[in-house]
Symmetry: C2
Subunit: 385 residues, 2 copies
């Protein structure tokens, strides 16, 4: 297996982008990544996207994007796994380079969620849960995560305030991210008093509906050296699956799929949770970040809330989490999110994060997730000196 590095990153300003369509978004982010990498060609590409069929009446995205990037006839493949479509697109790109099938691979993700056709975003997003067992019965994602929150509060004594603190922290970090959808600084009180979505979660606990894309360029470490780029190596790549339906899980306070993906990544990287300097995780809802911290082994099970309250996950804390602003502030164009996490890891490892730079950051972890925990990826990147 060849050593693989990320040599280029690109993303657009995320938000409600009424003047841009699906292909504009992907092409824009990809061109930024290609320019950043300084490569003169691409051998193969992946497009992570959850539901362009329902949102945009457009499937067949691999070739569509290859064409609009002027990259045909290279292999171009769309990956779908709900909100971890981007994370898996990145893992496929990693395997293609590591396995020696291609030398330079573009892995991007995109979702155009506003100004769309069909029955709206909530309907399309619900296709990530079990349609026959969950969605047809009226459940939506805020409702599923609200149940996880309630169970976590009940079992571990997690407080409503601790859950809200995830949003406070992530919005604070997002203030320094020029690409973030929201530049706000809500207080714990603002969050607890914001519009109710599904008890106990309010609107300021939920990631938004977003248009956006992100892209990265993967190549061999050898080629990265030739390009004269900082060597940001992919040292761990994990992916796992679990039942889509929340009611099938044995413990509502767990998101087991994250632990399974993390095990694979830690093993490949030969690292432990305490070796990780910072992480980007899938805070689609505030409660998710707490559970994920526990699944990744950053804190003991049930101690996520206390760790956030103690500032352990702040920039400058023991294990800074979501220094980009996370899904909460940055936005959550579902297919793009997993790739944008890699974008942030590379920025941190290049020491390009400005106010949110984690001092001495050498090893970062990205955790991306689909549905209420039906699928996940965990990637570990290391800056080589």
């Amino acid at each position: 297996m060849r050593d693989v590095a990320v040599v280029g990153i690109g993303m657009n300003k995320w938000g409600e982008l009424w003047d841009k369509d699906l292909r504009d978004l992907y092409v824009e982010a990809s061109l930024l990544a290609i320019e950043d990498a300084g490569v003169d060609h691409i051998d193969s590409m992946y497009v992570g996207c959850m539901s362009s069929g329902l949102f945009n009446c457009q499937e067949h995205l691999g070739s569509l994007m290859a064409d609009h990037l002027g990259l045909t006839p290279i292999p171009a493949t769309r990956i779908e796994s709900a909100c971890v479509s981007g994370g898996i697109a990145f893992r496929m790109g990693f395997m293609e380079v590591a396995g020696g099938f291609s030398d330079i691979v573009l892995a991007g993700g995109v979702e155009k969620m506003t100004d769309v056709s069909g029955d709206g975003a909530t309907f399309a997003l619900a296709t990530a849960c079990d349609q026959e067992w969950e969605a047809y019965n009226g459940i939506t994602f805020p409702g599923l995560y609200a149940m996880i929150a309630r169970a976590h509060m009940h079992k571990h004594g997690t407080t409503r305030e601790q859950i809200a603190m995830v949003s406070v922290k992530n919005h604070k970090n997002g203030m320094h991210n020029p690409n973030a959808q929201y530049h706000l600084t809500p207080s714990v009180e603002d969050i607890i008093n914001s519009v109710k979505v599904a008890e106990p979660l309010n609107i300021l606990d939920c990631s938004p509906i977003t248009d956006g894309a992100a892209a990265v360029i993967l190549t061999t470490v050898e080629k990265a050296k030739e390009l004269g780029k900082p060597i940001i190596r992919v040292i761990g790549a994990g992916q796992a699956s679990n039942t889509l339906a929340l009611h099938n899980r044995s413990d509502l306070t767990r998101i087991q799929v994250t632990e399974d993906a993390a095990k694979m990544a830690y093993k490949m990287a030969d690292k432990k949770p305490e070796d990780i300097d910072f992480a980007e995780v899938h805070d689609c809802f505030t409660i998710a970040e707490l559970v994920i911290m526990e699944e990744l082994g950053f804190v003991e099970r049930g101690k996520g809330g206390a760790a956030v309250e103690a500032g352990e996950t702040d920039v400058g804390g023991r294990i800074p989490i979501n220094t980009s602003g996370g899904l909460k502030s940055k936005g959550h164009p579902v297919g793009a999110t997993g790739v944008a996490q890699i974008h942030t890891l590379v920025e941190q490892l290049r020491c390009d994060m400005g106010e949110c730079q984690v001092k001495g950051a050498k090893i970062g972890l990205a955790q991306n997730m689909g549905g209420s925990g039906g699928s996940a990826t965990v990637h570990i990147l290391e800056a080589m000196s």
Copy 2:
């Protein structure tokens, strides 16, 4: 790169399967493949599916199917590239085993196209063409292939009768395929007098709307020997992209993406068109088979019609094509089609095809295609003695 073999195959009886849902279909085919292979575990899996979001209000198929197969927490990834979703799922499985990431991979494809939600099959299928430049303007796939047919007739003198002969041949072969949707033996006259769809193509020139799934098991040649299975090796794997929109192509009589994918596969296999003993190709419309034969190098450009008329592509001919019955007779559950082609290649190479057995078949080729030629895969399999 490790040598890879196909050691298990499975598919259901295809058709209008009113009593089976999306997951039933995939699980059924996969269990048959697992049983055929005799493996005791699966390391990773792929699900090729074009548009389960629009057809079934269900995305996130990787984990859904892993769960219903009892295979969680293995990595499970859905691949989408319109009608070549299955072909790419197979190629991803091949790369994962060849690259040493997994030892035993399940690659399957599925589509549930009848008894579905939404705006119907024609609407969903049109998302494989360029929605903004083609579908919004009213074009459908029969219309696109009708233009290809007209151009081919005009440029090369291909006759209406020659085009119909593709359907005659494929239906004749399909009579011996117990899994085929249609067991009919239409004559050239029947086809030319059948209901008009898009001049010059009639209903008996078009592949049908189908529910179905197919699955195969990939492993190393080494492991295949341990299992005591016939060694059917994957010696070539190619994939290519092209513009989705037909009007962007320089020549309407070409489906360039097939030539590009074939070049990659022939090069990897170190084979030429004349080394191929038989092929399964993507006859979504009769005219497609003629153009594909030309792109694969089986006949000179423009001579596809004459070759079919001369019986060169019959069982027992120089280069038998679609001995399974092809998409025309077997049916075309779009995400499953590419995997079912591999199923037939393996059956032929195991000498299990009965009446449609190609005598002395050692090397088979499968060509799968998305849209009007926006994407394609070509795989070459060889029986090792």
